[in-house]
C-alpha cells in the first residue's frame, strides 16, 4: 500500500519539482542539452512583461464574473430545483447535463453558435431585432471575453447546483416551521435560514470555482486561443504560450510557479474556511 502511495505521490510531485527547476533555467526546447541556471531571470522576465499583467487582469475579470455568475445562477436554480414539484427530476437531469459535456465539444459548439457570419446566435438576435448588424462575438475583445465567460458559466453552473442542492436537502424542515411560527415570510426565511445554512458550502464552492476558473486553460484555448489579440489571455494561456510558442520553457515554468503560489494561497483560504481536517485532529 505504502509503496503504491509513494509512487503515486512521486508521479504527482515530480512534475511540480521539475517545473520549479525549469523556472530557474533558460531552456530552449529545441536545444534540450543546453540549460544554464539563470537564478530569478525568468521571474523577472515574467514580472516585467506587460502581457503577463494584462493576462493577470483578464484572468481576474474572467474568474470574477464567471464565479459570481455561477454562484448566483447556481443558487437560484438549486432553490427552484429543490421545490417539491412533479417532474422536477427531469429538470434536474437536464440542467446538470452541461457538466459532463466535454470541453472540446462545447468549445466547438460555441464557435459554431457564435460564428459571426453564419452563426445561429446572430441569426436569432437579428431576427428578433435585438441587434441590427452581425456581432463578431469571438473577434471583438469584450465580446470574446463575454462568450468565454458564458461558456464557463454554462458548463460549470451545474457544479454549483449539485453542491448547493445536496446541502439544501440537509437543512432540517423544522427550521422553516419554526420560522413560519415566528411569522417570517418567504423572503425572510430565505435570508435568515436558507442563506446562512448555505453560507459555508457556498464559500467552499466559490473558492473551488475561483481557483479552477483561474487555472482554466482548455476552455479559452479551444474557444479563442486567447484572442482576438491577447484580449482573452489568462495566466494558463500565458504560461503555455511562453513555453511552447515562444520557446521559453523557463519563462513558462516560472509563470506556472507563480500560478502555483496563487493557488496555494487560495487553498489556504479554503482550508481556513472549512476547517478542513479539523475533525481529524479531534478523533
Amino acid at each position: 500500500m505504502l509503496p503504491l502511495l509513494v509512487s503515486v505521490a512521486l508521479f504527482l510531485v515530480w512534475p511540480i519539482v521539475e517545473a520549479i527547476r525549469l523556472s530557474f533555467v533558460r531552456y530552449n526546447p529545441l536545444r534540450p542539452d543546453d540549460q544554464p541556471f539563470v537564478w530569478f531571470d525568468n521571474y523577472l522576465f515574467v514580472l516585467e512583461d506587460p502581457l503577463f499583467w494584462e493576462s493577470f487582469r483578464q484572468a481576474l475579470v474572467w474568474t470574477g464574473i464567471s464565479t459570481l455568475a455561477q454562484a448566483v445562477i447556481g443558487v437560484g436554480l438549486a432553490l427552484l430545483l429543490h421545490q417539491p414539484l412533479r417532474g422536477i427530476n427531469a429538470f434536474r437531469g437536464l440542467l446538470l447535463f452541461p457538466y459532463i459535456v466535454p470541453t472540446v465539444v462545447i468549445a466547438l459548439n460555441w464557435r459554431w453558435l457564435f460564428n459571426a457570419e453564419i452563426g445561429i446566435v446572430n441569426h436569432l438576435l437579428l431576427s428578433a431585432g435585438i441587434i441590427s448588424e452581425r456581432v463578431a462575438w469571438l473577434s471583438t475583445p469584450d465580446m470574446a471575453m463575454a462568450s468565454a465567460i458564458l461558456l464557463n458559466v454554462w458548463k460549470y453552473t451545474p457544479f454549483v447546483v449539485i453542491v448547493v442542492l445536496a446541502r439544501l436537502q440537509t437543512i432540517p424542515t423544522e427550521l422553516y416551521d419554526a420560522a413560519k411560527v415566528d411569522g417570517a415570510g418567504a423572503i425572510r426565511r430565505f435570508r435568515d435560514i436558507t442563506l446562512p445554512q448555505l453560507a459555508e458550502v457556498l464559500a467552499v464552492v466559490v473558492v473551488f470555482r475561483t481557483i479552477w476558473t483561474f487555472n482554466k486553460f482548455e476552455e479559452i484555448y479551444l474557444l479563442t486561443r486567447g484572442g482576438p489579440g491577447t484580449s482573452t489571455y489568462n495566466l494558463a494561456l500565458y504560461a503555455f504560450d511562453q513555453a511552447m510558442a515562444n520557446l521559453r520553457m523557463g519563462v513558462g515554468a516560472a509563470s506556472g510557479v507563480i500560478m502555483l503560489g496563487l493557488l496555494l494561497a487560495g487553498s489556504l483560504l479554503y482550508i481556513r474556511l472549512t476547517g478542513f481536517g479539523r475533525e481529524d485532529r479531534a478523533a
Binding site: 509512487s7 512521486l10 526546447p29 529545441l30 463578431a136 473577434s139 484572442g227 489579440g229 515562444n246 520557446l247
Partner: protein, 450 residues
C-alpha cells in the same frame, strides 16, 4: 541518469498495476516506426505511401507513419518532441521553421540526396535549391513543393462592379474594388484576408509589407532589425484602410475562415493559396466557375507583387534520429519517381505546386480536370508567381533568415495589426512595438546568426 533510474524504480509499482489494467493499450507491435511530420491534408499521406513502398522492398520491419500536424500545432509538437529528444524521422514544415532548425544545427545535411535526385537540374525555373533551406553553404532541405499566396477574385462580381482586369491592379485598385463590391453587394465583404493572431495573419500581412518595400531583418546588414521603416507603417496603414471593407471578424480569421468566406460566397476577393480553388471545386461549383487567381496587386510606387510562399523542403532531424540512412535512400527513390511526385502534387490540386519540371509536365498534372478548366489560374499558382516568391525567412529574396520562425511562433506581425485594429493604437506606435519584439528576438537568438 541517476535521477532517471531512481524514477524508474519508484514508478515501477504504479506501472505494474497500470500495465495489467492497460494491457491492450500497450500491446503494440515491435516494428520500427519512422514518423513523418507534415501538414494536414492528403499529400503527406501520399508521400508516406510512397516511402512505405520503398520500405517494403528495401527495409523489412520499417514502417513510415504520417503524423499530421495542424498549422497551429506545429510549435507545440515541435517544442515537446524535440525537447523530449524524440524528433520525427522526416519533417515537412513551413520554410521559416525549417530555416530556424537548420541554423540551430538540428538538421542533417542533404547534399547527397539533392545530388542523387538531380534536384538542381530538375527544379522549376525561378527556384534555387538554396531557397529551400541552405544555411552557411550547407543544404539542409530537399525540395518538396511550393505554395504561394495569391490574390483571388470572383470574375462575375468584378465585372458586375464595373472594375478592370485584376491582372494589372495596384493597391489603390484593390481598395477601390473592395469598396465598390461592398457597396454593390450588401451582406458581402469586399475583400477578405486573415488578421487573426496566427500564422495566416502573419503571412497575409507580410506580403503587404514587402510590396511596400519594408522588411523585418536585413540579411545584408547582419540581420539588423529594420521593421520600423516608413514602408512597414505604410503597409499597416493600408491594411487598416482595407479593413473597412473586410468582414468585422477578419481580426480573428485564420486559414480556414478566409477560405470559408470565399467558398461560401461572402466575399468578392481574398488572399489565399491554391486551396480555395480546390475547395470551391468540391463544394461550390458556381463560385469555382467564376474564380480567378492573379498575382498580388502591385504597390503603386515599388510595383512589387511579393507573394508569401512556402518554399517547402523535407528536412531530417540530425540528433536522436536513427532513420537517417534509410530516410535518405527512400527519399531518393521516391523523388526520382516522376509518377509519385505527380501523384503527390495532384492529391490536393492545386494546393501543392510541383517543384520539378518533369513533375509539372507529368500527365497527372497536365491532364487534371482543374488544370484543363482553369489553365490561366493554375499557371499563375504553379509557375507565374515564382518570380514574386519570398517569405518571412527569405524576405525580398535577400537571404535566408533563421529568426522568422521564432517571430511566427509569437505572431508578431499579426499582433501589430491587432494592436492597430483592436486596440486603436496608431500604426506608428504599433510598428514600434513590433520592432522591439523583433529586436528582442534577434538579441535572444544572436547565436543563430553566427
Amino acid at each position: 541518469m541517476a535521477v532517471k533510474v531512481s524514477r524508474r524504480a519508484a514508478l515501477g509499482s504504479a506501472l505494474a498495476a497500470a500495465s495489467t489494467l492497460a494491457a491492450p493499450a500497450i500491446a503494440q507491435t515491435r516494428e520500427r516506426v519512422a514518423r513523418v511530420w507534415g501538414e494536414p491534408g492528403p499529400y503527406v499521406g501520399v508521400f508516406t505511401n510512397a516511402l512505405n513502398e520503398w520500405a517494403q522492398r528495401n527495409a523489412p520491419g520499417l514502417r513510415f507513419e504520417a503524423e499530421q500536424i495542424a498549422w497551429d500545432q506545429v510549435y507545440v509538437k515541435l517544442t515537446t518532441d524535440l525537447a523530449a529528444r524524440r524528433p520525427p524521422a522526416l519533417i515537412s514544415v513551413e520554410s521559416p521553421i525549417a530555416y530556424q532548425l537548420a541554423a540551430e544545427g538540428l538538421l542533417e545535411p542533404v547534399e547527397d540526396v539533392n545530388r542523387n535526385i538531380r534536384a538542381a537540374e530538375r527544379l522549376v525555373d525561378g527556384f534555387k535549391i538554396d531557397d529551400f533551406g541552405t544555411w552557411k553553404g550547407t543544404q539542409y532541405a530537399v525540395p518538396l513543393h511550393h505554395q504561394g499566396c495569391l490574390f483571388i477574385a470572383q470574375s462575375d462580381i468584378v465585372q458586375e462592379a464595373g472594375l478592370s482586369d485584376p491582372t494589372n491592379w495596384t493597391w489603390q485598385d484593390l481598395l477601390n474594388a473592395a469598396r465598390t463590391i461592398q457597396q454593390k453587394r450588401p451582406g458581402m465583404a469586399g475583400f477578405t484576408m486573415a488578421l487573426g493572431r496566427n500564422l495566416c495573419g502573419d503571412y497575409h500581412i507580410g506580403q503587404f509589407i514587402w510590396q511596400a518595400g519594408g522588411l523585418t531583418w536585413d540579411p545584408s546588414r547582419n540581420f539588423e532589425t529594420v521593421f520600423n521603416s516608413p514602408a512597414t507603417i505604410e503597409a499597416y496603414e493600408f491594411i487598416k484602410e482595407l479593413y473597412a471593407y473586410m468582414p468585422r471578424s477578419a481580426v480573428e480569421f485564420s486559414f480556414l475562415q478566409v477560405v470559408d468566406q470565399h467558398v461560401t460566397g461572402r466575399t468578392g476577393m481574398s488572399f489565399y493559396w491554391g486551396r480555395t480553388m480546390g475547395r470551391a471545386a468540391d463544394e461550390a461549383k458556381p463560385i469555382y466557375e467564376k474564380m480567378e487567381y492573379y498575382l498580388n496587386p502591385a504597390h503603386p510606387r515599388t510595383g512589387a507583387r511579393w507573394s508569401w510562399t512556402d518554399i517547402n523542403g523535407w528536412v531530417l532531424p540530425r540528433r536522436d534520429n536513427p532513420f537517417i540512412r534509410e530516410v535518405k535512400e527512400a527519399l531518393t527513390q521516391v523523388m526520382n519517381s516522376t509518377e509519385w511526385m505527380a501523384r503527390y502534387s495532384a492529391s490536393l490540386f492545386p494546393n501543392v505546386g510541383p517543384v520539378f519540371k518533369d513533375q509539372a509536365a507529368a500527365p497527372a498534372l497536365q491532364q487534371h480536370p482543374m488544370y484543363q478548366a482553369k489553365k490561366r489560374s493554375v499557371d499563375v499558382i504553379f509557375t507565374g508567381f515564382v518570380p514574386h516568391a519570398c517569405n518571412s525567412g527569405f524576405e525580398l529574396r535577400k537571404g535566408i533568415s533563421p529568426l522568422a520562425g521564432i517571430a511566427h511562433g509569437r505572431n508578431v506581425w499579426s499582433q501589430v495589426a491587432q494592436r492597430i485594429l483592436l486596440n486603436n493604437e496608431s500604426p506608428r506606435a504599433a510598428v514600434e512595438w513590433g520592432h522591439r519584439q523583433f529586436e528582442d528576438i534577434r538579441r535572444e537568438n544572436r547565436r543563430l546568426l553566427g
